[in-house]
């Protein structure tokens, strides 16, 4: 874990927030002068002694830095952001993290659950397109950034774990978890896997990779 000290802190003003799915906000802030990052890296917001990490979805050259956040009922940062107005200032540090797109040794496969799709949005906006993306969500209305990712990437597969009826009406969607897709649909071979999402998914997918996709590389970003 990287050590954060006061001199690493940056300040930024809120530009706007917008709902992009039920209980998911996209937040835009001014990019502080001199702040740069690599697609896939995250920033760490620091408020009243606690901190929250968010992967940036914007292009590194944009005037704003943008991230998406799942709203947590009663969550301190969620409450603060929901009530915030344009111009309100926030402190953060960064960029942090090593989850960047590598030169491809094998066919890249991006696997995300929920807002874990964020780094792949950043990859896509920076010109990465030769990848298969599996985006696992419970219901189709959680498929954030689909309009951007689907035309950008070689193959985009929405994996709908619960909303089976709805997924039946969603062209190209897979009814089931990302692990089920990997077990049944992806040909055993060596790939460059990029995993971002909750710990349980990452544990299950990594086990699958060890069993079915020997010789693969695995890059991991997990949520606590």
């Amino acid at each position: 874990m990287e050590r954060i000290v006061d001199r690493d802190r940056l300040a930024s003003a809120l530009v706007a927030t917008r709902a992009i799915a039920p209980n998911i906000l996209e937040v835009s802030m001014q990019r502080p002068a001199g702040f740069s990052f690599l697609p896939g890296q995250f920033v760490r917001f620091i408020m009243d002694g606690y901190q929250r990490d968010y992967t940036l979805v914007s292009h590194p050259d944009d005037d704003t830095i943008v991230f998406c956040m799942a709203l947590i009922k009663g969550g301190r940062f969620s409450n603060t952001i929901v009530k915030a107005r344009a111009g309100d200032r926030f402190q953060f540090s960064g960029p942090h993290g090593h989850f960047i797109f590598q030169s491809a040794a094998h066919q890249p496969v991006f696997v995300a659950t929920g807002t874990g799709v964020a780094p792949f949005v950043a990859f896509c906006r920076s010109g990465v397109n030769s990848a298969l993306l599996l985006h696992g969500v419970p219901n189709p209305d959680q498929l954030i950034y689909r309009h951007l990712l689907e035309p950008c990437l070689n193959t985009y597969v929405a994996c709908i774990s619960r909303g089976l009826d709805a997924s039946g009406r969603l062209k190209g969607a897979f009814a089931g978890r990302v692990t089920a897709y990997l077990e049944t649909m992806l040909k055993p071979d060596a790939y460059d896997f990029y995993l971002c999402g909750q710990r349980a998914m990452i544990k299950d997918v990594t086990a699958l990779i060890d069993d079915r996709f020997g010789g693969s590389r695995v890059f991991i970003e997990n949520f606590d």
């Binding site: 090593h98 590598q102 030169s103 990452i202 060890d210 890059f219």
Partner: protein, 190 residues
């Protein structure tokens, strides 16, 4: 930050550069020993009396270098992840040489073999020296096994020089620990 991920429960782990490897592989064995060395070095510092802050900080700086070495050992050459690594140059080995010379100036000339012993910090420095030699052997084995793919050639050379010099440093540090804590070398009278 949660410590456990569960991704290594079945005997494999991920390198920083993404490859899944057995935990028994030469690369993991090398940076596992490096980790052990770092821990023993922490014990050396912890065993010193509090009035030797300069030495404790020097050891802590070396521990930071060991983390850098570990990061290089966990990364295969050519990976984009190398952009996050600090260059490992010949400077750390040169700094060790300066520290060795500085400590030696305070120590009586060595005319006999010494036995590991004396103050606890000295004993731990000898233990660290042994672990350092083992780490060095593991890194050499890794370089041999990977046939040029263990890491960037120049970086690996600097790492090997650093580990070789660190063993010397730890030998002198063991004697210096005894000196700092008012104890004589334990001489071998065999």
């Amino acid at each position: 930050m949660k410590i456990y991920t569960g991704t290594g429960d079945r005997g494999k782990t991920s390198l920083f550069s993404g490859e899944r490897v057995l935990k028994s592989s030469p690369r993991i064995a090398a940076y596992g020993d490096l980790d052990e060395l770092n821990s023993v070095m922490g014990s050396v510092a912890a065993a010193m009396n509090d009035d030797h802050q300069v030495q404790k900080e020097e050891i802590q700086a070396i521990q930071g270098r060991l983390l850098s070495v570990g990061a290089w050992l966990a990364t295969t050459p050519g990976s984009a992840s190398t952009r996050f690594l600090q260059p490992f140059t010949e400077a750390p080995a040169k700094q060790l040489e300066s520290a060795i010379d500085r400590m030696n100036e305070s120590l009586p000339e060595l005319k006999q073999f010494v036995l590991p012993g004396g103050h606890l910090s000295a004993c731990l420095a000898h233990m660290a020296r042994c672990v350092c030699r083992r780490t060095e052997r593991r890194v050499i084995a890794l370089v041999e096994a990977e046939d040029g793919s263990a890491g960037p050639t120049e970086t690996m050379q600097h790492i090997l020089v650093f580990l070789n010099r660190l063993s010397d440093y730890l030998f002198v540090m063991a004697r210096y620990c005894n000196h700092l804590h008012g104890q004589e070398d334990v001489l071998w009278n065999g």
